[in-house]
């Protein structure tokens, strides 16, 4: 038999931080949107806001444009700081395609 031993070409991944913890439930929570304003986000995110408000009457869902919108700004530290300062419990990010 011929044996070939070689390096795994996929390399290593560093996991530096865990994902944010999930909330126990959405009732009474404050939820925001971070939108890139692309791919029908202007229709889908308002629809999702309405669904959330219908399904969880005590929920507070911020306006879709409460934070800066657009691919060029939603990944910035400034936007992250605004989201944090808003006191939201959870954030929905959309839309990618």
């Amino acid at each position: 038999m011929i044996t070939l031993e070689f390096h795994d070409p996929s390399g290593a991944i560093e996991v530096k931080q865990p994902h944010a913890p999930r909330v126990a439930g959405l009732a009474g929570k404050r939820v925001g949107f971070v939108s890139n304003d692309q791919w029908q986000a202007y229709r889908m995110l308002p629809r999702l806001k309405a669904l959330l408000e219908a399904d969880f009457p005590s929920i507070e869902v911020l306006a879709v444009d409460a934070f800066p919108q657009g691919n060029g700004v939603i990944g910035s530290e400034e936007t992250a700081a605004l989201v944090k300062a808003s006191g939201v419990d959870a954030v929905i990010i959309g839309n990618a395609a």
Partner: protein, 442 residues
Amino acid sequence: MTNAVAGLGLAPDAAMVTFPIEMFLPGSDIGPLDARRREIYDGLTRWRSAFDRAGDGAPPRLRVEGTSAEDALARFNHLMLINRWGDGLPLWPPTEERVNWILRGAAQSGERRLGTFPPRGGVTTVKSCAIALAMAGGRPEYLPVLVAAVEAFLDPESGSEALQAASGSAFPVVIVNGPIGPRIRLNAGFGCLGPDPQRPAGASIGRALRLLQQNLGGALPGIGTMANYGGLRYTNLVFAEDEASLPAGWPPHGSDRHGFAPGADSVSLAFANGATNIRRRGARKETPEEDALQGMHRMADFMRVPNMAGLAGYEHGTPGIIMIPGVVAQTMAGLGWTKASMREFFWEHSRIPLADLRRAGGPAWIEIDTSKVARESLALDPWPITARPENFVIVVAGGGHPTNSYWLQGYSPGVVGRPVALPVEFDRLIAEAERDLGPPAP
């Protein structure tokens, strides 16, 4: 697009709800959102990452066994495809022996960290480059150019993080200046964009870069990269400027764009999303002046298109790379043209009348661009395709024949230069290449 979170240092999974592309198109039925909203709610409340601990998941060594050398090689290649690590063409196994051979071309330790490859975030070292170069059929003397190209690629100024995943089929173009080009048999002449068995360096270096983009960066078609067409991604484009044919007074690209000293070894990396051959030469009885001017207009006409992807480089990048053969450069210089005056000409004559731009829906893209300079350019009519003439890249390459030039349409937020560092024993590597490959082609 779970790659995107891995590149940020998060676990390589995410709470994500995906829908067929049809729902994201204009006029779509967004009813599926209602039907599947519980999945979104679960993402906010019940989802758990499959990666429950932080840390460095260094992969183990792999092995295959075969009844013969050929059988083992076939099994290795099958394994590469099963794991989505190949490109469909045969690969060399990156054995310890072969990788160590490649690492003789390293000017630094193999463990030297170059960064993390976006968007997946694979840890990238000099040894990672050697593994990819070994798989791509490369040689040790190619490694300095690959390492410099990877350094340029990983520079945030290149825009690689977004372009790796984007739908616009961007591919890196690596322009090499300095004596290292001819020394490693990197083509600058006929067929410089390959393939060329006489000067195979560009194919191996570019293929290795592509393997890194895929295996460390996660740019798998339809999974990690939404590039509709891919295009030129087997080997990307890696070539040298034909410095021997540069007219007197014409600076090499590395000096012109990045300020490297003439004669210094360097790479320059930009992204393109198109490649077009232009019949530059006149057909009949033109004077030298007419031939030159008509050719310049013909090149500018190819540039005068609403390349909205090119907005990414409107301010700091490039609208594209124009390649002209050395014999043409010599003629143009004899008529008084310089790289700078050619750039001015291209900038002026590639402008698009605003009415044409409006007809094509261009202003909407320009209005949402993150660059203030780009947005304000809408006040200009005709609209310049880039903010300034200096953004055009002109490279002398392509052989001693005057008929064609070549336009690599830009999709390049930046043009990033890096010096090439050579190992102490580089001369010995070149001598071994001559032993293995025979004397260089004339």
